[in-house]
């Protein structure tokens, strides 16, 4: 299995909802296998200032959860989408309607940041049965015993499935999304090796990573680096996806 070199994060509706399908097509052309797509939320408690500001800009421009999901309907030129969201918008939509909205979109998995495993078992089971597994999140505060528990509660659907449906998200440091703090790669390396010893699943590592050297260091561990806030900021500043990602994808290819 070849390593997925990069997992980028985009905020739906920022810079604009109209630009989303073109961004996804460009991401596909760049060879990206999967992409995280943020559903803008009013109170993103796990996000730092950059993603919070992007979410508020998107909401201000009318990027409601329904409009985002409707705009994804019928899109085929796109990497697999991992829908990154908070629980409340999904609760308000309700499972039956959510499943109708997701059908025919490139969404392949959900990452619900404020939904720990076991909190809404019925919701998770319904979505998993319909083909939308929840991404397991493992943070520096997650003990190895708890990590095993999470990985079995949100099981690996098997090697025949895509990266988006199989990977576990390893949070690189304490805190919220965003750059600004220097990430210490030592503990991350130990953590990734520890998790690789207990699971066959692909791992993605994110939070605070943006410079090509850190991204390459994650790849050297056999894991996929996530780039979020830095990318969202660069796109908001007018750079295009190719400019901002190509440098960050190529160094070990």
């Amino acid at each position: 299995m070849s390593l997925n070199p990069l997992l980028p994060f985009l905020m739906a509706g920022d810079p604009s909802l109209e630009a989303l399908s073109a961004l996804l097509a460009e991401a596909k052309t760049l060879g990206l296998e999967a992409i995280e797509l943020g559903l803008p939320h009013s109170d993103p408690i796990a996000d730092g200032p950059v993603l919070q500001a992007a979410a508020h800009r998107a909401i201000g421009r009318g990027a409601t959860p329904l409009k985002v999901l409707e705009s994804l309907a019928g899109i085929t030129q796109s990497p697999d989408i991992i829908l990154f969201t908070y629980f409340n918008p999904l609760l308000q939509i309700g499972v039956p309607r959510l499943l109708r909205l997701l059908a025919g979109t490139p969404v392949k998995a959900l990452l619900v940041v404020d939904l720990p495993f076991g909190e809404e078992p019925g919701f998770e089971a319904d979505l998993r049965a319909a083909g939308y597994p929840m991404v397991p999140l493992l943070t520096p505060t997650t003990s190895l015993a708890r990590a095993r528990h999470i990985l079995s509660d949100r099981p690996d659907p098997g090697v025949s499935r895509s990266f988006a449906q199989r990977f576990a998200y390893v949070v690189a440091r304490l805190g919220v999304t965003g750059t600004g703090q220097q990430v210490d790669l030592g503990p991350i390396s130990a953590r990734v090796q520890q998790l690789q010893a207990i699971s066959e699943r692909p791992l993605a590592v994110g939070f605070g990573l943006s410079d090509p050297r850190s991204l390459a260091a994650i790849r050297a561990l056999g894991a996929t680096p996530v780039i979020g806030s830095a990318l969202v900021q660069e796109l908001a500043d007018g750079q295009n996806l190719h400019e901002t990602l190509s440098l960050r994808m190529v160094n070990d290819r």
Binding site: H41, S42, D43, P44, I45, A46, D47, G48, Q52, H56, I59, T64, P65, L66, Y86, F87, N88, P89, L90, L91, Q92, I93, V113, D114, L115, P116, F117, G118, E119, L137, L138, T139, P140, T141, T142, S143, R146, H149, I150, D153, V171, L174, G175, V176
Partner: protein
């Protein structure tokens, strides 16, 4: 049921509450529950807490009969539970001090808190100063402007007050920022949440440290009048004051009433009355009644009182309301101001704007034929002087 917790994390027939927290905070929340249970089972901790509540906070607080206001309103008797007389001037200190002691017991060296009206921030800053803990308080910029005396008090106690500029700059944004800060420092910091909300075990923790209000009040009213009142009445923002007063009366045959902020209008965004237009939702780690738009985005709120200006009702109080044990009423900004003025003139007591919402309901209760009321005077109004001056033209 959240994996790993020992205490029930859900309330009522609709299973409100729960623990909708980012994974980074799950182990700290599990550890907090363990420490909380161990502390409650430790006689030495309970003795220390009791001593601090007595000698630092000033408990028990008095239950003051208010005969002149009662007769003006047409009530037979009115009793005020005087949380305004605690050190730092509001019920918030009961929980802040207890959680600070708990944090110290857990070996934490730093404290994080959010604050709306500033009363919880001041209480936490004072408790931290007393125990020698570092303290950082997150406060919305709108609230910092309208509760400026409390900002100064926190700073005098050595706390760092961090302005939160996002959104409306009120309590909701302060909680967002405090949760984010805790995720970054949970290896050394404890987050002292001030309301009976947030992810499990916070609602249970806060309620259990606040029921001292109702336990004292119940014994005092029986001692003073030989009977329980017909109505026990408290204002409710998140619910720490409401639960603190009302829960010890749950088994009694009487009406338990919580008053929400009616703000300046009935439309979404003009008030903080969650029973009118609030729907089941998840905010700040718990499922409860929430003012939100159809997309699940939190709605804006409005209230003259910073402490009630919050879009969600705490899950345990919301469950008690939905299950019929507690009634909810609302009082507008103007009604609260007039309630405050009446208490000032009749009894020489200046109430906080939050507590004034409970006072504002008294005429309606009297009109319904209620004769005896016990009211939770949750805090004092010094912090609100500038609002009273401008709105009452004094």
């Amino acid at each position: 049921m959240t994996a790993g917790f020992a205490l029930p994390s859900r309330f009522g027939a609709q299973s409100l509450g729960g623990c909708y927290a980012p994974e980074t905070l799950m182990q700290p929340l599990l550890d907090l529950e363990t420490a909380f249970q161990a502390a409650l089972a430790d006689p030495a901790f309970l003795l220390t807490l009791k001593g601090e509540l007595r000698h630092f906070v000033g408990r028990p607080t008095p239950l003051t009969p208010a005969p002149r206001l009662a007769s003006k309103l047409g009530l037979k008797a009115l009793f005020l539970k005087r949380e305004d007389l605690t050190h730092t001037g509001a019920h918030k200190i009961n929980n802040a001090l207890a959680q600070a002691l708990l944090a110290q017991r857990m070996g934490k060296t730093e404290i994080i808190a959010e604050t709306g009206a500033g009363q919880h921030g001041v209480a936490t800053a004072a408790a931290c100063a007393r125990l020698g803990l570092g303290c950082t308080v997150y406060m919305g910029v709108t609230d910092m402007a309208r509760q400026a005396p409390n900002v100064a008090r926190m700073r005098l106690f050595g706390a760092k007050v961090v302005p939160v500029e996002a959104g409306q700059g009120t309590l909701k944004e302060a909680v967002n920022e405090a949760l984010r800060a805790w995720a970054g420092t949970c290896d050394r910091a404890h987050y002292i949440l001030g309301s009976a909300l947030g992810p499990h075990p916070f609602p249970t923790l806060v309620r259990s440290f606040q029921t001292v209000i109702g336990e004292e009040a119940r014994a005092q009213v029986l001692e003073q009048s030989g009977a329980l009142p017909e109505v026990v009445l408290a204002c409710a923002g998140g619910g720490s004051n409401g639960l603190g007063l009302l829960v010890p009366f749950l088994r009694d045959e009487l009406r338990r009433v919580a008053v929400e902020a009616g703000g300046h209008g009935a439309a979404l965004g003009e008030h903080a009355a969650r029973l009118d237009g609030g729907r089941m939702g998840v905010l700040h780690g718990c499922k409860t009644l929430l003012l939100q738009d159809e997309h699940g985005h939190t709605a804006e709120t409005a209230s003259i009182s910073a402490g009630l200006d919050y879009p969600a009702l705490g899950p345990e109080l919301a469950a008690l309301v939905l299950d019929g044990a507690v009634e909810v009423r609302r009082a507008s900004d103007d009604e609260a101001l007039s309630g405050a003025r009446q208490l000032c003139k009749a009894e020489g007591i200046l109430p906080a704007l939050e507590s004034s919402h409970a006072l504002a309901l008294l005429p309606a209760l009297a009109a319904e034929g209620v004769a005896t009321v016990l009211l939770g005077l949750s805090g004092r109004g010094d912090k609100d002087l500038s609002t009273y001056q401008s709105r009452l033209g004094i």
